[in-house]
């Protein structure tokens, strides 16, 4: 069997990353923004796993572990914040949260 070239794995990760990024830039609903962020983080995790398996050594997997730790932490804080924002603004529109400017 020929195996999977490392570039291909990284390309998939890049594509996932770009999709998440587009979502971040376009979406106004905060829930979707957070989901886009999860996709981006997951893409980074995928890239680590690809590199780790390609080099056949475990460091990348530990990094992946850290990525999901961060993802979990960020999701919990982000969602708490979203709840609070919903209470305050009665909306999840990210564009509405723009009192600070100038």
């Amino acid at each position: 069997m020929s195996g999977i070239p490392m570039e291909h794995g990284l390309m998939v990760a890049s594509a996932l990353f770009a999709i998440g990024l587009a979502g971040l830039m376009v979406r106004r609903n905060l829930m979707f923004v957070l989901m886009s962020l999860e996709i981006m983080l997951n893409a980074a995790g995928l890239a680590f796993i690809v590199a780790s398996t390609a080099w056949a050594e475990p460091h990348g997997q530990v990094m992946y572990l850290m990525v999901i730790t961060l993802a979990a932490a960020e999701a919990s804080v982000g969602l708490a914040l979203v709840l609070q924002i919903y209470r305050h603004f009665r909306s999840l529109d990210v564009d509405a949260v723009s009192q600070l400017r100038g």
Binding site: V94, D95, S98, R101
Partner: protein, 622 residues
């Protein structure tokens, strides 16, 4: 043990600085008493430190030295060190500043009683003392210039102290601008010296200059001329003298401290300190003497025709500084500084006494509306008599006699007969205007209600400073003559003695004649003089002298108005537009960029991604 006192030297300026800060940030919570205590106390302590250091210096425990505090920043070759220079000259100046300064601060507590903003007053005064000490102690041009600008600023602030009156503000502005003209010359001169010799250290600079330049070198002439410009502005000598008389708008203790005893003599100090440069420019040195001579005569005549006590004293100050410049011009630096010291004593005394009169007569300072006060204000009278005698150089018993006599003798020894004659003539004038002042205030009949009801000042705050200064203005003050032989080259008359006695006799005679003539004229011939001054040629001279030879009008016509006209006509031109362009551009860019800060999270994210794309594209090149 001996090093200990010298290491206290920084305290002399740190204490007044601390006083300034405390006063400035008390926000009026200290009250009048507290302000007076802090303001006076800090200078008093500085005077104490000065006395300690001075005692060690006099006893030979501590020689002339440079006290390097530290190096400010050392990056590459630029490593300015902050150091204090202790020698006979700086110690003399320091003693005058802290000693006389302390007495004036003390007296001001009485003078300023009940005034609004006394905290502000003392904060400025302490700041002034701080800057002045920095000026005289600094061993490098940086500190000197810092102090130089500092005293200018304080002078400005204090002249405009009663800022509610617009005229006072104008006087302050005038002083600031006129001295600033001199400061520009000075700054250019200092830059010139720095670029030539690459050091900021004064002693080093003068040494290098004497090695590199021969006497009469054009660059040396230029440097000396530029420094002279600065000195002329600060010391109110022709042609930059017009601000001093107007500066009398400030409170009288300010006039005593800044515009008589210390700041205005900074020019004398500067030339004395940089004498090495002036020695290389004999023509400029000669010019110094000439300017001094002309100023002393001009100011003498002007003093004769003033009606405001303080303006008389202001012109007299100009005239006396003229004597100092004369001394410098003939190379008798030591004599010049000696006169600086005695002048500080007796002029401070006269100003404080004038202040006492002014307060006791409810701020009446017109001679024509005073009179007959000698019984009501005996202490002020005594002070005026002693101070006036010293000013007029009454032979043998006054301090002023010894210093002025020295100057005249050195002028003769340097074979500058013209200067000698000017000095003698000035001496005659001094006697005249002094007597006119004293007679006008204290003799005859009171000419106003204020003068009739004058109440003498009481308390040690009022009396002690006057008495101490009065003592210092007599023969005793002359005994305090500093020994400056280590700092300056020998004066022209150091070895010669021929004619010294003759000069002394002639000088004494002129002074006495001046005084007697004055006494006769003003005590007995008052009405006649008044008639003389009112008509014909007399009126012309009176008005001419009263306006101090019309320099103000001249400058107004020749400089100020054309300048304003020029400004007016250039108001909207392309040059101005070009200079404003940078500001306009900044504002336009600001407005444009501010729109990027629209508060929209998504736009921020887009900007981030643009940056990221840029980074990857640039970095992932071939």
């Amino acid at each position: 043990m001996m090093e200990m006192t010298v290491s206290l030297l920084p305290l002399t300026f740190l204490l007044p600085l601390a006083g300034t800060l405390l006063l400035a940030f008390s926000a009026g919570r200290l009250g009048e008493r507290g302000a007076v205590w802090i303001g006076t106390g800090s200078v008093g302590l500085a005077a104490l430190v000065t006395a300690l250091v001075g005692a060690d210096f006099a006893l030979g425990n501590a020689g002339p030295q440079t006290l390097t505090l530290y190096t400010w920043i050392a990056v590459g070759e630029f490593a300015p060190s902050i150091g204090l220079r202790l020698d006979a000259l700086s110690l003399t100046m320091l003693s005058v500043i802290t000693g006389v300064g302390f007495l004036i601060h003390w007296f001001a507590g009485w003078y300023m009683r009940g005034e609004e903003g006394i905290t502000r007053f003392y904060a400025y005064m302490n700041l002034f003392v701080f800057s002045m000490i920095l000026l005289v102690l600094g061993d490098n041009l940086l500190l000197l210039f810092l102090g130089w600008e500092g005293v200018g600023l304080c002078s400005y602030l204090l002249i405009g102290y009663y800022y509610q009156n617009a005229a006072n503000g104008a006087a302050a502005m005038k002083a600031f601008i006129v001295t600033r003209i001199g400061d520009v010359f000075l700054a250019v001169g200092l830059f010139l010296l720095f670029t030539q010799f690459g050091t900021l250290d004064i002693a080093e600079l003068v040494t290098r200059a004497t090695q590199a330049w021969s006497a009469g070198e054009p660059l040396a002439q230029l440097a000396a001329l530029l420094i002279l410009g600065g000195a002329l502005g600060k010391s109110a000598q022709l042609p930059l003298h017009t601000w001093l008389a107007d500066a009398m708008a400030g409170p009288t203790p300010v006039s005593a401290l800044i515009h008589a005893a210390t700041m205005v003599t900074a020019g004398v100090y500067l030339i004395a300190r940089m004498h090495g440069i002036f020695e290389l420019a004999p023509a400029v040195l000669y010019l110094v003497g000439m300017i001094g001579a002309v100023t002393l005569l001009m100011a003498g005549f002007a003093a004769l025709a003033q009606t405001d006590i303080k303006r008389v004293l202001a012109y007299s100050t100009m005239s006396q500084i003229g004597y100092m410049f004369l001394a410098l011009g003939v190379g008798a630096y030591s004599a010049g500084v000696f006169h600086l010291v005695t002048h500080a004593f007796f002029k401070a005394l006269l100003f404080l006494a004038a202040g006492a009169v002014i307060v006791c007569c409810r701020h009446e300072q017109d001679i024509r509306r005073l009179g007959g006060l000698r019984r009501r204000l005996p202490l002020a009278y005594l002070s005026f008599v002693v101070g006036g005698a010293a000013l007029a150089a009454l032979p043998l018993v006054t301090a002023g006699f010894y210093s002025k006599d020295e100057i005249l003798w050195q002028a003769l020894a340097a074979e500058q007969q013209g200067l000698l004659i000017a000095g003698l003539l000035g001496s005659l004038l001094t006697g005249l205007y002094t007597l006119r002042l004293i007679v006008g205030i204290f003799h005859g009949e009171p000419k106003s209600k204020a003068a009739e009801n004058a109440q003498p000042g009481r308390g040690p705050q009022h009396s002690v400073p006057l008495l101490v200064l009065a003592v210092l203005s007599t023969l005793l003050g002359a005994w305090l003559r500093p020994d400056l032989s280590a700092v300056f080259p020998a004066a022209p008359g150091a070895d010669a003695h021929a004619g010294h006695t003759a000069v002394q006799l002639i000088a004494s005679a002129t002074a006495i004649i001046g005084i007697l003539l004055g006494a006769w004229l003003f005590l007995t011939q008052g009405p006649k003089l008044a008639r003389l001054a009112a008509e014909g040629a007399g009126a012309f001279f009176w008005r001419w002298w009263h306006r101090a030879f019309g320099f103000d009008g001249l400058y107004d016509r020749v400089l100020v108005r054309p300048f304003l006209g020029l400004v007016q006509s250039l108001r909207r031109d392309w040059l101005d537009a070009f200079c404003g362009l940078a500001g306009q551009l900044a504002l336009v860019l600001h407005a444009g960029l501010s729109r990027s800060q629209n508060g929209q999270l998504r736009h921020y994210a887009i900007a981030t991604v643009v940056g990221a794309t840029l980074m990857v594209v640039i970095l992932a090149r071939a």
